[in-house]
């Protein structure tokens, strides 16, 4: 069965090998020519690769079999349908994941070499840093592949499956990116109004929320905050004392520190990998069910 899957998916495997060789060569070449100047280009490549793999490897995997009627050939042999499907899934997933991991490692090494002059100066949460490091590219790849396979098994049309993969992947990625600050518990930090700089989001921190506390340490409503700030900010250096006089005594911030980036990666990775597992299971169910 492995031979059949390897032979059947030969074109995709050669394409993945080509991406690996050309991608690695391009990264090494650009790194040697530009130092850290073009490292963001490499990050964009690592960010986009999972989606492309989902669309061009995952979506056609079963949809093309249905379009060409060859699923009947595969399922009318003495093999178990689940085994046929699992063979195809493994032969598609393992090489794709390896290509992503190798290219990610090359790009991350380039980012580290660029140091603070490169993308790292904005910290782990900003730019393309979060999306291209830790388990993120791998979990995105698993999700995109599983989504493509599921859509292919469900709609039985390659183009529809590719479009579903594109839409589903982009929507979920954007939705979760917007909720990153909810994935790990933030730190509560209270500072004096005069130390305003501590409240402002540092580049390497993720601000989950901010506001002011009153004289008894109670939170101040946004309406009151607006009125006070409008009254005090024009006073320049006199603003902090004005704000204290009018009831904004302390700054309140909920921050996610740099050290929590790994934890956040694991939580997000678990969400994408869990969804991928559900979609892989759904794909097997669709392929196995009698109509």
């Amino acid at each position: 069965m492995t031979w059949v899957a390897l032979r059947r998916q030969r074109v995709q495997l050669i394409t993945l090998l080509g991406i690996l060789v050309l991608g690695s060569a391009a990264i090494l070449l650009l790194r040697s020519i530009s130092g850290g100047d073009m490292v963001r280009l490499g990050q964009i490549g690592v960010m986009v690769l999972p989606l492309l793999i989902g669309m061009f490897v995952g979506a056609p995997l079963f949809a093309r079999e249905f379009e060409q009627g060859t699923h009947v050939l595969a399922t009318s042999q003495a093999q178990n349908r689940t085994r046929w499907a699992l063979g195809k899934i493994v032969i598609a997933t393992v090489p794709a994941a390896l290509v992503v991991l190798v290219l990610q490692w090359l790009v991350n090494d380039w980012v580290l070499a660029a140091g603070e002059a490169g993308p790292l100066h904005v910290g782990p949460y900003r730019g393309f840093n979060f999306d291209t490091s830790h388990v993120a590219p791998l979990s995105y790849t698993l999700f995109a592949l599983a989504l493509g396979m599921f859509a292919g098994a469900l709609f039985k049309r390659t183009l529809v499956a590719m479009a579903t993969t594109l839409g589903g992947f982009v929507v979920l990625r954007m939705a979760l990116a917007d909720q990153h600050h909810r994935l790990v518990p933030p730190e509560r930090v209270v500072t004096a109004v005069a130390e305003e700089t501590l409240v402002r989001p540092h580049n390497d921190l993720l601000l989950a929320g901010a506001g002011y506390l009153g004289p008894q340490g109670q939170p101040v409503s946004a309406e009151v905050e607006d009125v006070v700030l409008q009254a005090c900010l024009p006073k320049g250096d006199g603003a902090p004392s004005c704000m204290i006089d009018l009831g904004l005594v302390s700054n309140l911030a909920y921050r996610i520190p740099v050290t929590a980036a790994g934890h956040m990666h694991l939580v997000e990775g678990a969400i994408f990998t869990g969804l991928a597992a559900l979609l892989f299971t759904g794909t097997l169910f669709l392929l196995k069910r009698q109509t």
């Binding site: 032979r7 699923h71 399922t75 009318s76 042999q77 069910r289 109509t291």
Partner: protein, 295 residues
């Protein structure tokens, strides 16, 4: 229910009140039929009669809505085809980018009962080059490769869904001859669905005729033919049997031919009795089924 003969050899297919309903309605209903061992069975019926649905239920790709079916004593499941069954669908799907040799290798890798020498013999007999890509073969050659893939599994039941539909008459004859020879030599039961009744006539010894999703006629060809008679008489002679006894009637410029039960054979002059042909019998039942549907 006992799915086995007293001899212990399981019957290839037994259907009991079998039915399959799609959104558009029943494709097959109340189908109680038995496909006996070691026969070449003609599965005939007009388009939409339920032939492909019946095959789909045997393969397990479709699940019955009503009734039950057994294949060599087992209930078909969604897990895969019964190991003793081979299925060649109407489209005869093959991987076009595989060579013929790779296609046979696929058979070897996915079937524990695979007979490589036998499959190679079938391909060589058809003079199909082993190194040729399947996509470059003619329709006839593709059918021979698909047949080699189906027979190489050494099945005891071979399901062929309109396998000759896209072949020219010469290729049809060759494929059919090969099929019959191999079925007889290997003791395979063949369920052969086709529209070309004249071809089935020479090869099939059992008939299963479906119409309107129901079994219209089922039985050994010799027995069925012996139960019917064709009465031929002048076109203007009064019909000698009650209308409801007439199974089929054809009229040309001079003659009228009536297919009726054999008990009505002796109606006297000017009607002359003769034995029907399988095609004629099948067509008469198909026409009657179409008329019933229209009514």
């Amino acid at each position: 229910m006992n799915w086995q003969r007293p001899s212990g050899r399981a019957v290839p297919v037994i259907a009991e009140g079998l039915g399959k309903k799609y959104r558009r309605g029943w494709a097959l209903r109340e189908c109680s039929v038995e496909i006996p061992d070691n026969r070449i069975v003609a599965l005939v019926g007009p388009n939409g009669a339920g032939k492909s649905t019946f095959m789909g239920l045997i393969t397990g790709m479709l699940a019955p809505t009503a009734g039950q079916i057994s294949v060599f004593g087992d209930r078909p499941q969604g897990n895969g085809l019964h190991p003793a069954v081979s299925y060649l669908s109407q489209a005869k799907p093959l991987y076009k980018d595989f060579t013929v040799a790779e296609t046979l290798k696929l058979g070897a890798k996915t079937n524990p009962t695979w007979d490589q020498k036998y499959a190679e013999y079938l391909v060589e007999q058809a003079q199909v080059p082993m190194k040729a890509k399947v996509g470059t073969l003619s329709g006839g050659q593709r059918t021979r490769v698909a047949l080699a893939l189906a027979l190489g599994r050494k099945p005891r039941l071979l399901l062929l869904d309109e396998p000759l539909a896209d072949l020219d008459p010469l290729a049809r004859e060759v494929v059919l001859r090969t099929l019959v020879t191999e079925a007889r030599n290997q003791g395979i039961t063949v369920l052969l669905s086709s529209h070309v009744l004249a071809e089935l006539e020479n090869v099939c010894d059992h008939l299963l005729l479906l119409g309107n999703g129901e079994v219209q006629v089922a039985g050994d060809v010799a027995e069925l033919l012996s139960k019917h008679v064709v009465l031929t008489g002048p076109v203007n002679a009064p019909v000698p049997v009650p209308q409801q006894k007439i199974i089929g009637m054809t009229v040309d410029e001079h003659r009228r031919r009536l297919l009726v039960p054999v008990e009505l054979a002796h109606v006297g002059q000017p009607w002359a009795p003769s034995a029907p042909r399988l095609g004629e019998l099948a067509l008469a039942y198909m026409r009657r089924s179409a008329l019933e549907k229209a009514a």
